[in-house]
Symmetry: C2
Subunit: 386 residues, 2 copies
């Protein structure tokens, strides 16, 4: 186990009555609220009206930032920063999924400086000195942003999709009501599940491989996600399955599953290039990239991948080499993604072979596990994924 | 899954270099520090000198509260409160195990009121309005107090051992260095492991029993503790085993393993009566009580106990009833405790049969799972444990 720091001060309110906790949370914050949300699904589901009624009851003045897109872009962050500065916003309430939350986090730090947020925080990784506090009402279990200190933003013109991390952008609270996910379109649900599993893999498939509490917790979480997904695919309003998916996606990236591990994040980096250039949904990109990455790299850590195969998928290792077991585990992963209808190839995402060199050039090469990843590796993985 | 709140703002510094984080943590707090510790083992191991050198380097004025006993008593809390008030203590640094931390937490709230701390907080459960901030250097993995909001104190004259809970007594930080546990006497190590498993059981063996992330995480944690204990018993300086034991004991009670569960705590309540009347080490008392409690009550939740037997102990359920499998799981628990040398009977603790009525009378009957516990149940369990 590596030395580690674990710190996560987010207050989670989980369950079907959790929205009832919003008034008390709002009572502790200032009068002017930036209400941040996405493309309007919260209006169709009635959540917008419920939240607005609470904000009104609490006597808040509401400034709205709507239309936050998947792979949220710098333009939207600038728009939010301007709204915050102009209206002296005291608190940001993000109602939505990871894109809305990440955009809100970038606004939170960007509105507290006169510097350009992209240059200061995303390109130069400067330490933010202040942030507008923010809270979350989560509608899409996927990114874990509701309980982490990270915000991923895309700079469309330069094709850069990258993250900024700071304790200042931990949400003060996050409200997780599984019933809010009942109406999620199936592809968004699947993308979220892929993202959740991918987060766990990025942590689990990295050294040290010595026996650790963290690895055991990671395997437990993977088994939960897989079992709950099989139920929720068939019964979208199965409360228990939706609860498990929602809570697992949050736990996956709250820090608990990475304690003492090096972590990887290479698959995320390859996917970020795909999203940045083709505006593909993050989970859809990961569904294509991550199993391919596993197939390509599992030979570098056959024992670890074999452990995964046995403990997560129940592969029988009798009479097989570690690498054979490892490859069965990767195949189980692919089979599961096929079973739930996740995309399997770059062409499913509308990404042509001709884009590969550009994708390679846009992939951040700074993250890897077991064996340093080269641009040739990325190229090979993308070709395998065609 | 029940609705739940999860909130835990403790900063954990984990690992063999974690004591190096102390100066930075201390830089953020006031000048006068109450250094709280136990019977002097930290002087024998050299930890006292290391911590004092850091405090001196940081320019702190140190007030010492030493001699905090196992099952910390009200007298010691009063002594600490007086020291804090007299010296205007800014921060409490607890160096030790659960007793030292719990005593420090009670001092932290007791020093910020003119009321009697025992009456106000422990008997009347009033909400504390302020607390002196505190930090921890942990030497005994066991109680989880280093990452929770609870403090158990014993009022010796009335034989009451009970807890107080408040967000105000979360430690600001806890330093967890597994190498500090190398010198722990074997019985203290075993008591800590029993306490850790007991915490997980108090949460795991309770409704709802529907599939949940939390139950999967609990099983993972139990397996980690069992595997690491078997190594550490033989190799006390096995860093990986000690790391897993230390981190598992902290995670067990940080809230993550109870999310969405009713919880039980009846075994803890029975043991609290034993500790309060016989000053028995908490873990030693639990080693006797908890497996007996399981054997007595498993018939009320055979499916849950069978799940435990299969998933934690690898019991083969083929051709057996749930209750048969459940009982095998309980037997595995007993066998494991015997294997590691934990006490198995009340008489091992010096508790005679004649004390049973008094123990029953001192047991808080407010906690139970699956079936409401009566005083007759407690009497039967204690008789079985003789």
């Amino acid at each position: 186990m590596n030395d580690f720091r674990f710190y996560n001060p987010v207050r989670i309110h989980f369950g079907q009555s959790s929205l009832n906790k919003l008034p008390k949370e709002l009572a502790a914050v200032g009068k002017t609220i930036l209400l941040a949300y996405g493309g309007g699904s919260i209006k169709r589901t009635g959540l917008y009206n419920r939240v607005m009624a609470i904000l009104e009851d609490c006597g808040k003045e509401v400034v709205e930032l709507s239309g936050i897109m998947p792979n949220p872009r710098t333009e939207k962050v600038y728009e939010g920063i301007e709204l915050c500065k102009k209206n002296n916003v005291d608190f940001i309430l993000a109602v939505g999924g990871g894109s809305t939350i990440d955009c809100s986090k970038a606004i939170a730090v960007g509105a507290c400086t006169d510097r350009d947020f992209w240059e200061a925080f995303y390109l130069n990784n400067e330490a933010a000195e202040a942030a507008i506090p923010l809270g979350v009402v989560l509608t899409i279990p996927a990114t874990g942003s509701e309980m982490d200190r990270s915000a991923v933003i895309t700079h469309w013109e330069t094709g850069v999709k990258t993250d900024y991390n700071s304790d200042l952008i931990f949400p003060k609270f996050s409200i997780l009501d599984p019933t809010l996910t009942y109406t999620l379109p199936k592809n968004q649900m699947i993308n979220g599940i892929v993202d959740t599993l991918s987060h766990i893999w990025e942590l689990y498939f990295s050294e040290p491989d010595t026996d650790s509490v963290t690895d055991n917790l990671a395997e437990a979480l993977m088994r939960s996600v897989i079992a709950a997904t099989r139920v929720a695919i068939k019964e979208p309003e199965d409360y228990i399955a939706r609860s498990n998916i929602m809570w697992a996606s949050t736990v996956a990236l709250c820090g608990m599953i990475g304690n003492g591990k090096n972590s990887d994040w290479a698959s995320h980096n390859i996917e970020h290039a795909i999203s940045a250039l083709f505006d593909v949904a993050h989970g859809a990109g990961l569904a294509v990239v991550h199993p391919t990455y596993m197939a390509y790299f599992c030979q570098n850590a056959p024992e670890r991948y074999a452990r995964y195969a046995v403990n997560v998928w129940g592969v029988d290792p009798t009479g097989k080499t570690a690498l054979e077991v490892a490859r069965e585990g990767v195949q189980c992963t692919r089979d599961f993604f096929n079973e739930i209808g996740a995309p399997a190839a770059l062409t499913d995402l509308g990404v042509p072979e001709s884009a590969i060199d550009d994708l390679v050039a846009h992939t951040d090469m700074g993250a890897w596990a077991y064996k340093k990843m080269t641009q040739d590796d990325v190229r090979a993985i993308l070709r395998m994924a065609l």
